[in-house]
Symmetry: C6
Subunit: 72 residues, 6 copies
Amino acid sequence: MKNEFDTALPSIRQVQTLIKEATAVELKLMSGELLTGKIDWQDQNCLCLLDENKQPTIVWRHAIAYLRLQSH
Amino acid sequence: MKNEFDTALPSIRQVQTLIKEATAVELKLMSGELLTGKIDWQDQNCLCLLDENKQPTIVWRHAIAYLRLQSH
Amino acid sequence: MKNEFDTALPSIRQVQTLIKEATAVELKLMSGELLTGKIDWQDQNCLCLLDENKQPTIVWRHAIAYLRLQSH
Amino acid sequence: MKNEFDTALPSIRQVQTLIKEATAVELKLMSGELLTGKIDWQDQNCLCLLDENKQPTIVWRHAIAYLRLQSH
Amino acid sequence: MKNEFDTALPSIRQVQTLIKEATAVELKLMSGELLTGKIDWQDQNCLCLLDENKQPTIVWRHAIAYLRLQSH
Amino acid sequence: MKNEFDTALPSIRQVQTLIKEATAVELKLMSGELLTGKIDWQDQNCLCLLDENKQPTIVWRHAIAYLRLQSH
């Protein structure tokens, strides 16, 4: 299905909540690589992740396999 | 073909049934990784899987290779 | 090219024939994994494969590399 | 760019010529796998390759990396 | 979601800033390969990276996993 | 973003220049494979590369990671 950036969609809303609450997350990429941090913003193309030093990583959506809360 | 999120399509309807019946499933990803759990919701972009501790994993559709019932 | 689910297209029609005739097929995935079975249905997003125990596997089209008749 | 199935495009026309002249080709897939044969037909979604025993393999376009004439 | 080249989007604007400020970046590709350099331009399809000898590499967006500032 | 075959775009124009000037290039694919040659033509779907024996390889755009001038 054509991907949609519609703020009413659960997938967009839940990321928006993770941004607002500054929740630590894990992003698993299609390549198997795991990124961790807090989501700073999202748009149609990308999510931006901040690491513990507040350094941003701009991750393309097409590269993301899944997202979950950071395990402790 | 342009992917469609049309609730009349078998691929959308059958996932909807799996959600309603809280069926345990296996999601095999394009990367070869296997995720298991119950599907909590689906939208155009993602499926959300709940593990046995009810922790959610938001899985992007483009990352999914196939879905089947959990083998016993 | 934008993929199309047009029943006049050879790629859609030939899968439809495989469904009707319950032909055993091999589906090779982009990941290299090989699935075998009979195709139960197709829609814009997915093909559904039934294994020898009639268990369904819903395979996303974007994950399929190629399809051929099962070798004996 | 949105892929197009426009018979005026070189990529579509040249495959059409390969079909008409029954030229033996190599298809290299994104996964690294190499398929060989003669192209039987093409449509928006797929190319169909016939092996030396005239057995068809339906290859999805998204899985193809490149196509060249079979090396001797 | 359909990717968009809209200069109001954070993902487009932030790359535009990296271009203007000639910031050294790392581009991690879907294949795991890492490219480094300064971004020279972006358009709908590609980003162009200049290495230390000012040699350009045209990188397709679909191949990019993530972008971050070059680590020291 | 929806890829565009617009001859005003830098990514299309620069490939057009490489064709006109018969510049030797390297094409790195998503699979990690490296192809070398001169670009013969481009269209919405593909680039065609000629090797030193003028043999053509039709490369699908979705398979390309990056393009650079051939290193000496």
